[in-house]
């Protein structure tokens, strides 16, 4: 992959280190243990196989085939089925084999699930797990970051953790949430980062951003895999004091944290791996341009994927994807502004 995600944090001293993928698997297992209404469904999630990324491996043996349900290739249908299950009080965790295939289930998400409670009070407490993001040479249909479609749609919640601990804590919160939550997992982080994850129950509230590091000169607002790119880029510019805000939840957005971070430095970079054009970063930048205008000391720089499909070949994908160098340059530009 194009970036090095050898992420390390202070907590690494602690004994209990899990990968991002292990943290997700742990959250699912613990919630299934706790609540018999929690179940998993999707393509290849069941049996001894446990899904394309093996996130659900072992669950079928442990909780039975009824609660770890293999589906045919029918995203629209099985997500619609999850809508009905959720209306009856089950809490299905729907696995999209890749986030790229979430578009196949679109109506069941953006038309039914997102509107049922607003229209007639029907609760749809499911979670869709969407393995997203690229940098790992998977081509246009296994590398997408479609979060903007869903943030734009009223009635959904959208979460995108960047660390194993947040992955466990936010997935737990998403499963317990009474609304449809789309949980974007950053594939490139699955096995590339390992850090401390609290044992037992661990809940991270949906809707709260986290300050990854404090700083006075420039603020980077980001989420998912790009949090690590931001941190590494900041490290390459030691003479600039960089503040990094990890949004963690995209909807509902922690606007207070965003505005506070923007005001703190007056200089802001908004960064994500998704296509930049009308991406979620545009919302963040527009929010700041409207509500923190008087505090701005420089242009709001947006960095995101190019306005092309995600190409497969390394030189093209690296050019497509926000790089450490691009972010470092933006930091310098703003610092010098």
């Amino acid at each position: 992959m194009s970036e090095n995600f050898g992420f390390s944090d202070a907590e690494q001293s602690d004994g209990r280190m899990l990968t991002y993928l292990e943290a997700i698997a742990e959250a699912i297992a613990q919630e299934m243990e706790r609540d018999p209404d929690v179940m998993v469904l999707g393509e290849d999630v069941g049996g001894s196989f446990g899904g394309a990324f093996k996130v659900t491996k072992g669950l079928a043996e442990r909780f039975g085939d009824d609660r770890v349900l293999n589906t045919p290739i029918a995203e629209l249908g099985f997500t619609g089925m999850a809508n009905g299950m959720a209306l009856m009080g089950l809490r299905p965790i729907v696995e999209m084999q890749f986030a790229d295939f979430i578009s196949t289930a679109f109506d069941s998400i953006v038309q039914f699930a997102s509107t049922a409670h607003y229209r007639w009070g029907g609760k749809v407490p499911w979670v869709i797990r969407a393995p997203s993001d690229g940098g790992i040479r998977s081509g246009p249909f296994h590398s997408q970051n479609p979060e903007a479609w869903f943030v734009h749609t009223p009635g959904l919640k959208v979460v995108a953790p960047s660390t194993p601990a947040d992955a466990k804590g936010l997935l737990t919160a998403a499963i317990r949430d009474d609304n449809p939550v789309i949980f974007f997992e950053a594939k490139p982080l699955y096995r590339s980062i390992r850090s401390h994850v609290p044992e037992g129950e661990h809940v991270v509230a949906i809707g709260e951003a986290a300050t990854v590091r404090d700083g006075e000169d420039v603020t980077i607002i980001t989420y998912g895999s790009m949090v690590h790119v931001a941190t590494q880029a900041a490290d390459t510019v030691p003479d600039v004091s960089v503040r990094i805000l990890d949004l963690r939840t995209l909807k509902p957005l922690d606007s207070e944290a965003v505005l506070e971070a923007a005001k703190a430095t007056g200089k802001v970079i908004v960064l994500h791996a998704a296509n930049r054009n009308t991406g979620f970063g545009a919302e963040v930048a527009a929010l700041i341009a409207e509500e923190a205008f008087e505090f701005l000391d420089g242009p709001i720089i947006r960095i995101g994927g190019a306005d092309t499909p995600v190409p497969f070949s390394p030189p093209l994908e690296d050019a497509y994807r926000p790089s450490l160098a691009t972010v470092a340059d933006a930091i310098k530009t703003l610092a010098a502004y």
Binding site: M39, D66, R67, T71, P72, A74, L76, G77, F78, T79, G80, M81, A82, N83, G84, M85, A86, L87, M88, G89, L90, D107, S108, Q111, F112, T115, A116, H117, Y118, R119, W120, G121, G122, K123, P125, P154, G155, K157, D178, N179
Partner: protein, 321 residues
């Protein structure tokens, strides 16, 4: 299956009469400009929708479509509330949020609110059925689809999974010969829905959708099968959409003779005459039933028209649970 006593069949007539009376009143109101937005007449579908409502048990769940007014009524959704929805009142089940019969769900009545997007009611209802199955509850989920909706991809995905999982799921195909302006022969080459169901290994029946007794029997067989763990059923109901797609649609594209022929098979009149022929009830008693229906509907309209519109300050209420 609950035996179809004479009392039950008279009750059925009463529901069909209430449904027809509601429909006539709604159409009249909208033509007079007293309506809001669009409205779908279900005229001709009374036998299907009332049979579906009556054949289900109290704990079963149903996701009716835009022409299943009778099902809503039988399940206990009052005419007041439905007219409230039609008129965008705060007292409707969607509190002014959704239009016409869209979204008038109420889980306390075992009703799922539907959305326009065809065929979303199908996978949703399958999910309800699966919840019953996974919890080992002896409950059934039923929904309906039009001839038009049958050609939509989600219908195929739902039938395949319903069969695969042997879900307690019943689907009524309302073959009313048109999808908006498009006749059956421009929708599909084979309209043999029962045969289509067989290709999924799903049990099926083809029924005269304008014959309440036949519909009730067929739906009951499907519901019982589902309840006993026998898996899904598809019921092909042969019927006709008598008043066009929606209130604004003159349906000039429907041949006169066709409508005339179907008029002779009117489901409400048929039920009425059958009960009379059997001597199960007198003309006078039937008139009382019709007058009662008329009174209920007029009262419902008055109540709904008098009800308040939603307060704009409630715009954001309920986006999230």
């Amino acid at each position: 299956m609950e035996p179809l006593t004479t009392e039950r069949r008279i009750e059925a007539y009463a529901w069909m009469s209430l449904t027809r009376t509601f429909d006539d009143a709604m159409v009249a109101m909208w033509k007079q400009g007293r309506g809001l937005g669009g409205a779908f007449s279900q005229r001709g579908h009374e036998a299907i929708s009332v049979a579906a409502g009556m054949a289900l048990g109290p704990d079963d769940v149903v996701a009716p479509m835009h022409r299943d007014l009778g099902t809503y009524l039988v399940r206990g959704m009052t005419p007041e509330r439905i007219f409230g929805n039609l008129l965008g009142r705060a007292t409707g089940p969607t509190r002014g949020r959704d239009a016409n019969l869209h979204g008038i769900g109420d889980l306390d009545l075992g009703i799922i609110g539907f959305i326009s997007h065809i065929p979303q009611a199908l996978p949703t209802t399958l999910g309800v059925a699966m919840a019953f199955k996974l919890r080992h509850e002896r409950r059934v989920a039923l929904t309906t689809v039009g001839d038009g909706g049958f050609t939509s991809g989600g219908t195929h995905e739902t039938l395949n999974m319903a069969s695969l999982y042997r879900a307690p799921f019943v689907l009524i195909v309302e073959d009313n010969k048109y999808a908006y302006s498009t006749p059956l022969e421009q929708q599909m080459r084979s309209a043999r829905f029962a045969e289509k169901a067989a290709a999924y290994d799903i049990a099926s029946a083809k029924v005269d959708g304008n014959d309440f007794d036949a519909m009730y029997a067929a739906v009951s067989v499907g519901v019982d099968r589902a309840r006993e763990g026998g898996g899904p059923t598809v019921i092909e109901a042969d019927t006709m959409r008598m008043l066009g797609h929606a209130i604004h649609d003159g349906a000039e594209y429907v041949p006169e003779e066709m409508l005339a022929a179907w008029k002779r098979r009117d489901p409400v009149a048929a039920m009425r005459n059958r009960l009379l022929d059997e001597g199960a009830i007198t003309d006078e008693e039937l008139d009382v039933i019709d007058q009662t229906a008329h009174g209920k509907i007029q009262a419902a309209i008055a109540t709904a028209e008098a009800a308040p519109l939603p307060d704009p300050s409630t715009l954001h209420d309920g986006v999230y649970a």
